[in-house]
């Protein structure tokens, strides 16, 4: 062990960092508190306590519909992205072939292109040109933008994977597909779960693509929140924010238990 932690920690650094984290958390905490305010407008500090805004969410048809849509879209898109992405990630990690780097960049392209441009292009192409139904377009759009997340997480999961166990399985009589499902997949389940969580939440949170692919009765929750906020000044959105933050915490918890948050250090 390389010596005791020298307790001569730089005080300036500590205070600076604390201030930065206050900066990062204070706004969210403020929203959280206003969500429980009793006034009909957003008040901080709140003068009274109430949970009516949470009730308001559930009585709002718009929010309930868009919440349902968001959940559906993100769930289906994530599953689709997993089906497309896991084999791709496996192939990219397992094998070495010509043009591998180009292909890798190809799969990451949804991240490289600005979100708003992706949304606009999909709008022009799928809705205007191909006249696809909005729901389908939304689904496809979300699937596309989260494939890179799947590939990156699974790819990272497979890094350093000892593929010799595949050869061992095959020597014992397992075919290729069987080997994958019996020997490779079980060892990356935590990666798959983490990928699912991260892809899901990034799809759920998406605005630039969703905002172009909406139509009558079809919209995602972030979009409906945005519209609401532009004209209403009551704490309903605060309450929604609290719910969304709880969802974030749940996602983070699952990611920590599977892949570990250190994954974010790339």
């Amino acid at each position: 062990m390389k010596g005791v932690c020298n307790m001569r920690k730089n005080k300036f650094l500590l205070i600076f960092s604390i201030l930065v984290y206050i900066f990062l958390f204070a706004p969210l905490i403020i929203i959280g508190i206003t969500a429980f305010g009793g006034e009909s407008y957003i008040a901080f500090p709140p003068k009274s306590f109430s949970v009516k805004w949470f009730a308001n969410i559930f009585s709002s048809e718009t929010f309930m519909n868009t919440l349902k849509t968001s959940m559906e879209i993100s769930l289906i898109a994530t599953i689709a992205a997993l089906i497309l992405g896991v084999p791709a990630a496996y192939a990219l990690s397992r094998f070495n072939f010509k043009g591998k780097t180009i292909l890798k960049n190809f799969f990451f392209s949804p991240v490289i292109v600005p979100g708003i441009v992706v949304g606009f292009s999909l709008f022009q192409f799928m809705i205007i040109k191909l006249k696809l139904p909005i729901y389908t377009s939304l689904l496809i759009g979300h699937t596309i933008i989260i494939i890179p997340y799947i590939i990156r997480v699974i790819g990272s999961s497979l890094e350093g994977f000892d593929y010799a166990i595949e050869e061992a399985a095959m020597s014992l009589g397992a075919g290729k597909v069987e080997t994958f499902f019996k020997v490779v997949f079980p060892n990356i389940t935590s990666g798959v779960i983490a990928a699912f969580m991260l892809a899901f939440i990034n799809s759920f949170n998406n605005v630039p693509v969703s905002i172009f692919l909406t139509g009558p009765g079809i919209s995602t929750l972030p979009i409906s929140m945005m519209s609401y906020v532009e004209y209403n000044y009551d704490p309903t959105v605060s309450a929604l924010s609290v719910l969304l933050m709880i969802m974030t915490i749940i996602v983070m918890f699952i990611v920590e238990k599977t892949l570990g948050l250190s994954y974010f250090l790339k």
Partner: protein, 345 residues
């Protein structure tokens, strides 16, 4: 002249277990002193206390008659060579060595002169413009030493500087380090776990075990007169025999076997006698004292000698004999332990 004086240094990581406990060490100016011991014995901790990276829980570090205990690292002017060399990867060899001089705000011309001179001394002058990643292990080590020496430190601290080198290079470099040390006359503290290495170049050695210095003496004395069982084992003694003091320089082991010894000390219980395998002889003619009988258990061929494990009343004794007569398993032999070769610990 005493340069380093560690007084009652105690270091503990968690308040319960002490890495070092009331450690005392005095080092004379101009000497190369080694801290020798197995991993975990506290030698690196001691070095880090002296360097200033570690604050002792209690005790004092007096350097050159000044209390250095609380002085910050960057003010101590000690040269440090790390096990990993810790060369700055983003700087050239020249800039690496010049770093300390730049910190001392030396002018450009002087820096150039000093750096070139030291690079010449370590035979790295042609590598001045290279980067660490382009150098071999031995080359990096020489740069690390140059960087530490160029600042004309009051003390040179080396933390296992040779352990990342291959065997051949290690032999070569330890001599070079000793030569540099003597040429510059710089007091040096050398941490290692390799007994042969430190014995070959040190003026004095502190053998450490579990946070304590078991013996602090010249290599010659430690080799021939180890103070404790631990030190004896470390320098190659085997055959530890439980003995009782029964008379003037006479000791008795199991089964009534008596031995005369020539060394001093050791009163009281729990005395052990020890002797090197090379010093036990298999008797061809008869001797009266310091003998014991035994049966050959195993014979191992070592090239220039045979090693025999002999079962005796005192336990299994290990000895080495040259190849004149070869004994085989089961042979009855009589062993002679010369009184001047038995050490008491």
């Amino acid at each position: 002249m005493e340069l380093i004086n560690l007084k009652d240094i105690t270091v503990s990581y968690d308040g319960k277990n002490n890495i070092l406990e009331n450690l005392n060490l005095k080092v004379e100016k101009g000497q190369l002193v080694s801290l020798l011991g197995p991993s975990g014995c506290g030698k690196t901790t001691t070095l880090r206390v002296i360097a200033g990276f570690l604050e002792a829980n209690s005790g004092q570090f007096i350097f050159n008659n000044k209390d250095y205990t609380k002085i910050p690292v960057h003010k101590r002017n000690f040269g440090l060579v790390f096990q990993s060399y810790a060369l700055f990867p983003h700087l050239t060899v020249f800039d690496n060595v010049a770093f300390g001089l730049k910190m001392r705000k030396m002018n450009k011309k002087s820096i150039e002169d000093n750096v070139n001179r030291i690079l010449e001394a370590v035979d790295m002058k042609n590598f001045a413009k290279r980067y660490p990643k382009e150098l071999s292990g031995g080359q990096r080590q020489r740069v690390a030493i140059a960087r530490a020496l160029v600042i004309k430190p009051n003390l040179l601290l080396l933390d296992e500087p040779l352990s990342n080198l291959d065997a051949k290079l290690r032999l070569k470099m330890r001599v070079e380090i000793r030569k540099l040390q003597q040429d510059f006359g710089i007091t040096t503290l050398f941490v290692t776990h390799d007994q042969e290495e430190c014995f070959s170049i040190s003026d004095k050695v502190a053998v450490m075990n579990k946070g304590l210095i078991e013996q602090f003496d010249t290599p010659e004395n430690i080799y021939s007169n180890p103070a404790t069982e631990f030190v004896a084992r470390f320098v190659g003694f085997e055959n530890f025999i439980n003995l009782n003091h029964i008379g003037d320089k006479v000791y008795e082991g199991m089964g009534g076997n008596k031995f005369k010894v020539q060394c001093e000390r050791k009163k009281g219980e729990n005395i052990k006698g020890t002797i090197r395998p090379e010093d036990i002889q298999i008797l061809r003619e008869n001797k009266d004292e310091n003998t014991i009988e035994g049966i050959v258990e195993i014979r191992t061929y070592l090239g220039k000698s045979y090693q025999y494990n002999i079962k005796t009343e005192l336990g299994t004794l290990v000895l080495k004999e040259t190849n004149d007569v070869i004994y085989k398993q089961g042979d009855k032999v009589k062993l002679y332990l010369p009184s001047n070769k038995i050490i008491l610990v």
